[in-house]
Point group: C2
């Protein structure tokens, strides 16, 4: 089949799906989307919108009817439904095997550990006694993290256990045994960095420059590229990213979130089998962005240039309050010609909801960061 005639199906019509479609449409691909939200961000630019829940097998079957290749914009979806489609011969990238492993933080860690990829120590636990056992000085020691093995994102599904006194509360907070949980050694990190990597159907791999991230309330706030790290750390991160793509035989764009520890080591925090918020900077910052290369990967095309055009800073626009969304400060932001604002088109603002982002480019990262930070006072999204 002629490549541009492939119909692409995307599970999820949020901002990541929308940005995938904007790239897919440059080559004229037909795109179908599965999303329960009738006016989700991707709605107005997809060819076919299947309004169905993310756990509804009928919705997945309908998506498959309209798609020659299926991908997804987030990982907390019905892997069983996708698996059934894969068994029927439908093409899904990244593969359901990779998805199922990555969906479960415990399985993800086991796979990474088995392949000598550095991660924090971890242990599946089923009760508070086991958690306390982990907390002993000869094991992980306090503080440590309790994590739901599935369904977590933006800090949800995580609980910090500072001392033994927090054990009961943390266990209750994460379902009191109703869901699978694990303890992870606490990483006293110096920096949070991430790296976007892509792998093709034929195994070809490319990586993007390392990004440096700061979070606020466990939600990504700012990404700066290049990261303020040594060449050695940068090389290590690229090496790890390449290994991760091989371990999962990932086809598409992945994000590998890493910690740089205070003693100059790095360790994988989390792998996402999809384009990632910390890779939005690539739209203006790189010659071919993470969404374009994701589309190229899943349809079987070679990759575009992932190198950095110039220092780039991405800032998330997080809803400050609830109500009909209102974007403030757009004109003032655009008084700086190096600024690009992306507004996802969500009609309702909610506190902590990702409503958009903006990107600033410049000659030096210091100047770019400075201008990006100044704009935070101006460009905001509120609920009216």
């Amino acid at each position: 089949m002629e490549i541009v005639k492939k119909r692409i199906g995307i599970v999820g019509g949020g901002q990541l799906g929308k940005m995938m479609i904007l790239e897919a449409k440059r080559l004229g691909f037909y795109v179908a989307v599965l999303d329960p939200g009738a006016d989700c961000p991707a709605h107005s630019i997809c060819d076919k919108h299947i309004v169905a829940a993310f756990d509804d097998p009928k919705g997945y079957a309908e998506l498959a009817e309209y798609s020659d290749v299926i991908t997804y914009e987030f990982e907390h979806i019905n892997a069983k439904a996708l698996e059934d489609l894969e068994k029927k011969g439908h093409v899904i990238y990244p593969s359901v095997t990779a998805l199922k492993t990555i969906q479960n933080k415990n399985l993800q860690n086991i796979a990474l550990e088995k392949n000598q990829i550095p991660i924090p120590r971890f242990s599946l636990v089923t009760n508070t006694d086991e958690i306390r056992e982990c907390g002993k000085a000869e094991n992980f020691g306090y503080p440590m993290m309790l994590k739901a093995t599935t369904g977590g994102y933006d800090g949800k599904g995580n609980a910090l256990i500072k001392t033994e006194n927090d054990v009961e509360d943390a266990f209750k907070q994460l379902g009191n045994g109703a869901i699978e949980v694990m303890v992870e050694e606490f990483v006293d990190f110096e920096k949070e960095i991430s790296i976007i990597a892509c792998r093709g159907i034929n195994g070809e791999k490319v990586v993007y420059p390392v990004a440096e991230n700061t979070h606020k309330n466990s939600i990504l706030d700012v990404t700066a590229v290049p990261a303020n790290i040594s060449q050695e750390i940068s090389d290590k991160a690229a090496d790890i990213a390449n290994k991760v793509m091989s371990v999962f035989e990932g086809v598409g764009t992945f994000c590998i979130e890493l910690f740089e520890t205070k003693d100059g080591e790095i360790s994988v925090n989390e792998v996402a089998p999809r384009p990632h918020n910390s890779g939005h900077y690539t739209i203006e910052g790189c010659f071919a962005n993470q969404f374009e290369n994701h589309i190229r990967a899943i349809v079987g095309l070679p990759f575009g240039d992932t190198s950095l055009i110039m220092p780039t800073v991405m800032v998330n626009l997080i809803g400050e309050s609830d109500g009909p969304a209102r974007l403030l400060g757009l004109e003032e932001a655009y008084n700086d010609p190096s600024v690009h604002v992306h507004y996802y088109g969500k009609s309702e603002s909610k506190t902590d909801r990702k409503m958009g982002h903006y990107t600033v480019v410049g000659k030096t990262i210091d100047d770019t960061l400075h201008r990006a930070m100044e704009l935070k006072k101006v460009v905001r999204v509120v609920g009216e």
Copy 2:
């Protein structure tokens, strides 16, 4: 009204409309399109598609219902219908006054001449005697161009009169007096160059780098930037572009096509009140492209950076034959990571129809041109 809540109406859903929408959607604008083609390139990504002829006042009225600001992707449209809307208070950019002047090559030339902008000598003619009068050595002399004053594009509506013997045929070819025609002095040009310029509602102006164009069968074939011209010519072109934007009080992105003559002068060939094929290079070549800045202009936002990232060459993908469209060589093209292919999504290829384009970037214009030219053998569109 909050800027991002403005609904944008576009007359024309071809590739230019499609590329405008791709930029408009980054900020989440609602976009309605008027186009008679049920599966025109913009169809699948617009919010509302009004299927109506370009001369149908009802279609324009319906477009206005769904739009807070109306623009157009080409100039051969129903100015009267737009004028009626403007009188009713609808906002149209570029203005109908500018459109009506530019639509008519004679009025366009008169406006340019009146403002001391260099153009070839010209004369409205109504019969062959008047054409012969123009051909006299003491007037324009042969060769000269006979041009329909309205409706021409891609060489259509033009006839070259090499000698007096061609006068009758040329006049017949252009309607034998049924339509308004004019004679233009023939410009023995050294180079064809063009410059994209933008002007805001508040009069703010920006220009892009000068592009060098080559045509094949009167259709744009290749655009290379930077143009191989002197700084003096480049400055003159920018100066003319700025003047043209002021003359027409143009709001939006315009293209000014120019000739560089053999004696080192420049003269305006044609003004288009819209983004232009010779500005497609700006998508990969510049920080903010011609479509983004067009959208910014018509909604009242300041402009993005028009400067060149690095040398860029754009090559048109012109249909080689008739039939269901087939894009050849995409995978081979993408073996060069600096290549981006744009495929407009027209289902039918026709000989000489613009089906897509590709862009190559590189460190030097010579190397970039070389790679772009090599790819012409590979990336092609045929009718099956």
